[in-house]
Amino acid sequence: MKVLIVGSGRVGATLAGVLSDEGHDVTIVDVERASFAHLPAGFKGTTYLGNGADLDVLRQVGIDEVDWFLALTQGDNRNLMAAQIAKEIFGVKRVIAKVNDPIRAEIYREKGIPTLSRTTILAVLLRAMLLEEPEVGEVLMERTLALEKRLTGEQAPAPPWVTAKR
C-alpha cells in the first residue's frame, strides 16, 4: 500500500518504521527536521519537510495516489484539518486522525472522519490491566509486546494476565 503519514512524533515515526518494514511504500511529513530522528535506523521510506495540512505540500508528496492517510501530529486540530483535506478534497479512501481530546474525537467520527483518541485507548487498556480483563486487552497487549520486542530486539516477559488465560 502507498501510505502517507503526517507527523513524525513517536507514534507516527514508529508506525512508519513498522509499515515500511512490512513492505509498504511509506512517506512521512513533518514541519521539523529534528522529528525525523524518531524514525528507526534504516527507515526505507521517504521523509518530506513541510506542513501536512497544506494543499501544495500534500500534492507534492503525491496524495492523489495514496491508499492510506494517517494524521498523527501532536495537534488535534492539525490532524483534523489534514484528515478532512485528505478525505474531502483528495478523496483518499482510508483516513485516520489521532485526536487526543475524546470529545472532539467522537464528534468528528460522527461526521465521518475516523478518529482515535490515545487518551481513551490508554484508559481502557490500563483499566483492563488493573482488573485483569484478558478479553479486553489480550490481543492489544500481545501485539504491543511483540512490536516492542521487534523495536528493541529484547525479550520482555508477558504479564501474567496475558499468559494465564482461558
Binding site: 494543499l55 486540530n77 484539518m81 478532512q84 464528534i107 461526521k111
Partner: protein, 219 residues
C-alpha cells in the same frame, strides 16, 4: 448583537474592542491566563479563560444565543475546528466566520463547510492592487450566500468599452452594472449610460463568468 470572539491575540483584542465601542455585546475566549487578564484590564469582564476549540467552553460563552462566532487565532487548523465545532455545538446560530492566515486555505475551509472566511493577506493584496495603475479589473468581494461577486473595473483610455453605452456591452448573462463612479459621484448603470475613460464601473456578476465580464470591458 452578541458576538463570540475565539482567540484573544492582536486581532481578537482589537476586534472585541471595536465591537464593544460600537455598542455590541462581546465574549472573548482566550486560553492563555495572563493574556486573558491583560484583556480584562482593558475591556472589562468580557473574557472566558479557556480553550476556544472545546465545545463545552463555546457553550459556556453562550454561543447558542450568539449572532456570530468569529475564529481569529493565528492558526488556521484551530480556526477551522473552532468554526466546525461551533456549527455542531451551538445550534442554528448566526454567522460563523474564520480568519484564514494562508489564503489558499479559503477554498479548503469552504469545501469543509465554513463558507465565510477573511484572509488578511487577500485584503491587503486587494488594497495594493487597487493602488496599482494597470490592470484596472478588481474582484472586490464575494457576496455571502451566493455564487455572485462584486467587481470594480476602471475604463482605461483606448478600452473598447470607452464611449460605448452600457446596453451595447457584451456582458455575460447574469452580470449587471450596478453603478458607474465618475468624478466622485455615482451614475446609475442604466442601458443608455455611456462609459467614459476614467470611469470606475461596479459590476455584480456570477463568479463563474468573471472572465467574460473582463472581456466585455477590456476586449
Amino acid at each position: 448583537m452578541y458576538v463570540v470572539v475565539a482567540g484573544g491575540g492582536e486581532v481578537g483584542f482589537h476586534l472585541a474592542k471595536a465591537l464593544i465601542e460600537a455598542g455590541h455585546e462581546v465574549m472573548v475566549i482566550e486560553s492563555d491566563r495572563r493574556r486573558s487578564q491583560w484583556i480584562e484590564e482593558r475591556l472589562g469582564s468580557v473574557v472566558l479563560n479557556a480553550p476556544a476549540d472545546e465545545g463545552r467552553y463555546q457553550l459556556e460563552a453562550g454561543c447558542q444565543r450568539a449572532d456570530a462566532v468569529l475564529a481569529v487565532t493565528g492558526e488556521d487548523a484551530k480556526n477551522l475546528v473552532i468554526c466546525q465545532l461551533a456549527r455542531y455545538n451551538c445550534g442554528p446560530l448566526g454567522r460563523v466566520i474564520a480568519r484564514v492566515n494562508d489564503p489558499k486555505n479559503e477554498i479548503v475551509f469552504k469545501t469543509l463547510g465554513i463558507q465565510e472566511t477573511v484572509s488578511s493577506t487577500r485584503v491587503l493584496m486587494n488594497v495594493i492592487e487597487q493602488e496599482l495603475p494597470t490592470g484596472g479589473f478588481l474582484p472586490l468581494m464575494p457576496l455571502t450566500g451566493s455564487h455572485l461577486e462584486l467587481i470594480e473595473a476602471e475604463i482605461a483610455a483606448g478600452s473598447p468599452a470607452s464611449g460605448k453605452a452600457v446596453r451595447a456591452l457584451k456582458l455575460p448573462d447574469g452580470a449587471l452594472i450596478g453603478g458607474i463612479v465618475r468624478g466622485g459621484k455615482i451614475v446609475p448603470g442604466v442601458g443608455e449610460a455611456v462609459l467614459e475613460t476614467g470611469d470606475r464601473v461596479i459590476v455584480f456578476s456570477p463568479t463563474a463568468v468573471e472572465a467574460d465580464v473582463r472581456k466585455a470591458l477590456f476586449g
